[in-house]
């Protein structure tokens, strides 16, 4: 099949100052990282915006920096690079989430920033990063600001990055969790998939902190703080009564959502949660 080309203006800055200048001159330009999601969504004809800025040649954005407390990943770093460098230091749940993204070919091209920064769709890494309190640096010419990942999107689903700004790096804190779980149930292409992430920190035989999140079909997130607060301070292994209360909380939470969840989906949620809670045991 032939492809129709409606050529865009492509900018290829070689360094960060050039990128910031280009962005200032063209604030509505698309920042092209790996571009896998964009290209895969257009098998027929490729339609790019009028202005596109490719960051593939900017070395400053392809750095991974490590300190004692966190790891910073530039927006040009591919997922496979992060997996290579972060094998023993990334939180296990995040490492698993990144490993399950696509195929090796996709991971060699896609970036984690692209994975969390695509409006209209929530991909694998975003729920985990929410739980891990990852922060994102939003940069523009003349300044930058750090925001938690939870504020990356507006309530209406649009990105909270203004024209002329771009997400330059993320900061992943090192926090020790006693139990980390990341599961995908359903289609590996995410349509119809249910993603669960659970993090729990135990102090001896008591839950010090727990964080739980579900992602439905790449669109809707469910995080119930009531369950998390209820579990804090509970002794593990949890009693049947405590587990039952948690399941009731999540059922109420599901019922109160505006978006529809079918019975099959509800059962899967209950199953995953029950399994997760059942495998919490005191540290040896």
């Amino acid at each position: 099949m032939s492809e129709k080309y409606k050529s865009s203006n492509i900018y290829l800055p070689g360094n960060l100052p050039d990128l910031l200048s280009a962005l200032k001159a063209h604030p509505e330009a698309l920042i092209f990282n790996g571009g896998t999601a964009l290209m895969a969504a257009q098998p027929q004809f490729i339609h790019l915006p009028v202005d596109v800025i490719s960051i593939s040649g900017i070395r400053e954005l392809q750095r991974i920096t490590r300190t004692e407390r966190y790891m910073e990943v530039g927006c040009g770093v591919t997922i496979s690079k992060i997996l290579e460098v972060g094998r023993h230091i990334l939180p296990k749940a995040l490492y698993t989430a990144l490993q399950l993204i696509g195929t090796p070919q996709i991971r060699n091209q896609a970036t984690v920033i692209g994975n969390i920064c695509t409006p209209g769709r929530i991909y694998n890494a975003y729920p985990v990063m929410l739980l891990l309190d990852v922060r994102a640096e939003i940069r523009r010419q003349g300044g930058s600001r750090w925001i938690p990942i939870s504020r990356l999107y507006n309530p209406d689903g649009t990105l909270s990055i203004s024209p002329g700004e771009f997400l330059s790096r993320i900061r992943v804190p090192y926090e020790r969790w006693t139990s980390e779980c990341y599961q995908i149930l359903g289609s590996s292409a995410l349509d119809g998939a249910l993603i669960f992430c659970g993090l729990t920190r135990l102090q001896k035989e008591f839950i010090n902190e727990t964080r739980l999140i579900f992602l439905f079909q790449g669109q809707n997130l469910l995080r119930d703080k009531e369950i998390e607060n209820f579990l804090n301070g509970k002794k593990v292994p949890l009693s049947g009564k405590d587990k039952k209360i948690c399941l009731e909380y999540i059922q109420n939470s599901i019922s109160s959502q505006e978006w529809p969840i079918d019975r099959f989906e509800k059962e899967r949620v209950l199953l995953i949660l029950r399994d997760y809670l059942s495998q919490l045991y005191p540290e040896e």
Partner: protein
């Protein structure tokens, strides 16, 4: 847009629309017909090429993204010293790949063996799971790569002596 990159160790310059897919550039402008075109969605994997020492789907790469990169296709692999060990390994394992996937699978095997002289079965499965072709069963493919890795190792060991 003029794009300069290295293809199979040769400096290339092409003048193409910036959105043109790499798979189309390789096939239409540069006559690299070993690179096949099918889904154009990054699903089948038969368009895989090596870009900057990483296996990627050439159907997901626009022309402007290639600037300054090093690309290798099967045509380039066939000119390397490693190719004979690789193809002999596949032959000895009686693994005959079809014309659609042979380029991408050979490149996947090559890049895997460049990283790991003796890849584990798990590594082989992971590296090859992005190419979907039903011409052979997967176990035959894994055996072929293991055979190729032994041949390659033997070849380099002999050279060192």
């Amino acid at each position: 847009m003029k794009i300069q990159f290295t293809l199979n160790n040769k400096e290339i310059e092409v003048d193409v629309p910036p959105e043109k897919r790499l798979v189309n550039i390789l096939r239409e402008d540069l006559n690299c017909l070993s690179v096949k075109k099918s889904c154009l969605r990054g699903q089948c994997g038969i368009c895989s090429v090596i870009m900057d020492n990483n296996l990627v789907y050439s159907c997901l790469i626009p022309a402007f993204f290639v600037a300054g990169s090093q690309i290798m296709t099967l045509e380039g692999l066939m000119e390397t010293k490693e190719y004979s060990a690789l193809s002999k390994g596949f032959e000895d394992a009686s693994c005959r790949l079809c014309h659609s996937c042979i380029g991408s699978r050979y490149l996947a095997a090559f890049i895997l063996l460049e990283r790991s002289t003796r890849p584990s079965l798990e590594e082989i499965k992971q590296e090859t799971n992005g190419i979907h072709c039903q011409c052979i069963d997967k176990n035959s493919l894994y055996r072929a790569i293991q055979t190729a890795s032994r041949k390659r190792e033997r070849k380099f060991r002999v050279r060192k002596v």
